[in-house]
């Protein structure tokens, strides 16, 4: 399952979609809106995506993870829009026969999502200040 959505997601629904007899463990990562940024209290967050490209990139990251690790299935759901503190931002769930591969694949997917996918977060702190979150610098190739 790959999804970019304005609505909150059901973690249980995504996990159910990965259950099958070959699976011995499902690892999940849930990113949520932190209530603090560089010492300032966060009021809310806006998330923007180039949705067509983001969906394509997420599919590709999932495909690479399934190829690289011995895992049965993986799901990535990323939200866009206005999110309050503590709301879900992203869910990555990986199902595998054994835990090591599931943990490794989950971490791989998360790092690739952060590195590549055209999604941008903007934090609004109390007092009306807003900042685009910068994780990794990139440059024109």
């Amino acid at each position: 399952m790959i999804k970019v959505t304005r609505e909150d997601f059901s973690v249980e629904e995504v996990i159910q979609s990965l259950r099958r007899k070959e699976v011995g463990g499902i690892v999940t990562f849930i990113g949520t809106v932190r209530g603090e940024s560089q010492g300032r209290p966060v009021e809310h967050m806006e998330i923007e995506a180039y949705e067509e490209m983001a969906l394509h990139d997420l599919e590709e990251i999932r495909r690479r993870a399934l190829e690289k690790f011995r895992v049965e299935d993986a799901a990535i759901v990323h939200r866009v829009g206005t999110l309050k503190v503590s709301e879900n931002i992203v869910l990555i769930a990986v199902a595998a026969a054994h835990r090591e591969e599931a943990f490794d694949a989950c971490r791989f997917i998360l790092e690739e999502v952060k590195r590549l996918v055209p999604i941008w977060k903007k934090e609004y702190t109390l007092g009306g200040r807003s900042t685009w979150v910068r994780d990794e610098p990139t440059s024109v190739s």
């Binding site: 992203v90 994780d135 990794e136 610098p137 190739s141």
Partner: protein, 78 residues
């Protein structure tokens, strides 16, 4: 072709998209020259990637009519 701006670039330039016609055979470098002329805020800003029809592209790539060119500032998803 259609040019799309996202996140900080969208805010700095003040628009989400614009239509532009370039001479046949133009490359991304030519597009960047044209964009810097109309949007001086891009002058000196090299901190973005270019995607043509959703695929990250190098600046020497030729552009065609109907292409969708996106300027992508550093991403921060996840």
């Amino acid at each position: 072709m259609t040019i799309r701006f996202f996140a900080s670039l969208r805010e700095e330039i003040g628009i989400e998209r614009e239509e532009l016609e370039l001479e046949k055979g133009s490359a991304i470098t030519d597009l960047l020259v044209a964009l810097k002329r109309t949007h001086p805020v891009l002058l000196g800003n090299e901190n973005f990637l270019i995607a043509v029809n959703g695929v990250r592209s190098k600046v020497d790539q030729r552009l065609g009519e109907g292409d969708i060119v996106a300027l992508l500032p550093p991403v921060s998803g996840g």
